[in-house]
């Protein structure tokens, strides 16, 4: 009965988090007056989105832990872009999908209200994570006095003025390490009503404006300032490009691009680019190889900026996405295999699992530092973290299934933001 249901359409039996299909939405569609955007036909839930968002969540968790063996499985070691790109793109895609439909059917005000409700959830989640961070850092501050690291303990200085720090944290200006994604997501979601309203008018112009803002960010050095100094680690002015591009794809852009995506030229350009990026990343780990890197290219290329979503990172993501779409069709039977279920279930509850992942990364650090370290422990923590994420996602799915069965009639029209999750 919720928004997400209409997107989900008929579900595969047992697809966690997805609820029974609603026929209503099918006949609702033709009544929309000449929309500039087209929402894909109602069909099965797009499992590829869940799959890759789940994957991104796992990778972000692993990347937030200190480097260990599993880190070598994360994509940032094989190219320019990493899990953040996947995450923001899919978030843009699903948010546009869910709230775009809400806007077409219920109008701007209702859709905006739903978006704001979601933003509030994400904000609360962020504040919750900040509290956990405070607990951890306070503990370490009082228990760790290795003379080798007296200087690094300067990080605790902010504890000396909690009045300022905590207020700045609530304003999203003080953001400890690894807590950058949610504030970015909050800002992007706040802009979503505007993005959707503009997309409804002219999707291509909206995308062009987004690209223009991206270019202006680079040209005029726009940024969000942070406390105590510096700026946001993920610049929303730049990262919005990926989010808007995701929204554009969701609202019919992907279909219009399908001929380009299917062309072998695109495929070979993507493969060549990914191979080149792989080679460049290889030179970071095997410095001997850098002899074969022309100095001119090095000077042009570095630094590859994550804060402002370097063009090299963006194009790397595009190449990855193009190949993925080509070689992993929507109907791929593997998507229903039980082996991929853990990933898909995690992807379906992304805000909860993202927060859990950040928390588990804190906890993992803590165990490594206070209880035991060593590579075996490290691997164990990574794997248990992933298992916990899976278990939690499974419990949430189960609970939603049960709750929906008993409360279908009363739970009318409450925006289910699951699909738009991506927290």
């Amino acid at each position: 009965m919720t928004i997400a249901d209409q997107v989900t359409g008929s579900t595969i039996a047992g697809t966690a988090g997805a609820k029974p299909a609603e026929v209503k939405s099918v006949d609702a569609k033709p009544r929309i007056a000449a929309p500039a955007i087209t929402l894909p036909a109602i069909g099965e839930r797009e499992l590829r989105l869940d799959l890759f968002r789940g994957l991104a969540l796992w990778l972000i968790f692993i990347d937030h832990l200190p480097p260990n063996l599993l880190t070598w499985f994360t994509i940032r070691n094989y190219g320019f872009s990493d899990a953040t790109e996947i995450f923001i793109f899919i978030s843009g895609y699903t948010a546009a999908f869910v709230y775009g439909r809400a806007m077409l059917e219920n109008g701007f005000v209702i859709a905006t209200a739903r978006v704001l409700r979601r933003v509030w959830q994400i904000y609360v989640a962020h504040v919750f994570l900040f509290t956990i961070f405070l607990a951890e850092i306070s503990y370490v501050a009082t228990s760790f006095e290795n003379p080798l690291y007296t200087e690094e303990m300067g990080i605790m200085d902010f504890l000396k003025q909690p009045d300022v720090t905590i207020v700045q944290a609530l304003l999203l200006r003080f953001r400890p390490v690894n807590m950058d994604v949610l504030p970015l997501y909050i800002v992007l979601m706040l802009a979503l009503p505007l993005i959707l309203w503009s997309m409804k008018w002219r999707p291509d112009v909206t995308l062009a404006l987004s690209a223009l803002l991206y270019a202006a960010t680079w040209e005029f050095d726009l940024y969000f300032s942070a406390y105590p100094n510096g700026f946001w680690a993920f610049n929303p002015f730049a990262w919005q490009l990926l989010f808007v591009f995701g929204a554009w794809c969701a609202l019919g852009g992907a279909r219009r691009m399908s001929r380009i995506l299917a062309s072998p030229v695109t495929m070979w350009i993507s493969i060549a680019y990914l191979a080149a990026a792989f080679y460049v990343t290889l030179t970071w780990y095997v410095p001997q190889l850098s002899h074969f890197m022309p100095k001119l290219i090095e000077q042009w290329m570095y630094p590859i900026d994550k804060t402002d979503l370097d063009v090299l990172r963006f194009t790397h993501f595009l190449a990855l996405a193009a190949l993925t779409v080509r070689f992993l069709p929507r109907e791929w039977p593997g998507l229903k295999s039980p082996w991929l279920r853990p990933l898909i279930v995690c992807g379906q509850h992304s805000l909860e699992i993202f927060c859990l992942g950040v928390f588990l990364a804190f906890a993992g650090h803590f165990i490594l530092a206070e209880v035991a370290s060593g590579p075996a422990m490290h691997a164990l923590i990574s794997l248990s973290g992933i298992l916990i994420m899976w278990a939690m996602a499974w419990v949430i799915s189960w609970y939603k299934r049960v709750a929906d069965k008993s409360g279908v009639k009363t739970k009318n029209a409450v925006g289910n933001a699951d699909l738009a999750g991506g927290g």
Partner: protein
Amino acid sequence: MKAKVLLSLILLCGYLAAPSARADDAAPAVPAACELPPYLLATESQLHKVAEAVTSGKPLEILVVGSRSTTIPFSEDSSYPARMQAILKEKLPPSETVHVSVEIQSKKTAEEAAGTFVKLMEAKSPTLVIWQTGTVDAIRSIDPDDFRGAVTDGVAALQNAGADVVLMNLQYSPRTESMISAPPYLDNMRVVAQEHDVPLFDRFAIMRQWNDQGQFDLFSPSRGPELAKQVHDCIGRALAQFVLDAAHLGSAQQQN
């Protein structure tokens, strides 16, 4: 089905744990031997002035510009600049005078430190400046672009004053890894080193190597100075070797 998943995860676990277990076994065989794979001490950039001073028998005056992690509280003689001086004296001919002095810029960012360089160089005029920076900037999350600009200015000031320069980056500090974001500062120092053809002593990668290989447990909460002394000894040795290699002072000038 569940059992199959579980089994495969257990197998994966075992597979991942296996090589690490071996690493643990191997560690005590060469305790704290400061061993490093050669690539961590390789550099293409050269220290011409150091080479010239040593080959022409002039005194080698080295200035370490650092921060609190340059020293160990209450054990100055065991800190890496002191250890480097001892090793250099051992390796260079006895006729060669080697003197290492230390300038601690406590709690100063790269920009603040670079501002003092002109005066500092007038006072000391060293052959080689080893500039260790980045930690304070990372703690205060200074804009990485500003940081890069400051390091660039600092390196230029040191070079203009006629010294060879070696850049040294942050310590590897696993305890604070979840709180201090080192990568942007490491990357930018690498870029400046590359652009200015300055050797970069990768203290971060070196210490991480020791920690990963089990030579040192850098997670240790120990309050005693022993671990710090051993680590600084190894850094001093590695740094001495790095300087000699970058100056292409091969075995001809070295005693052993």
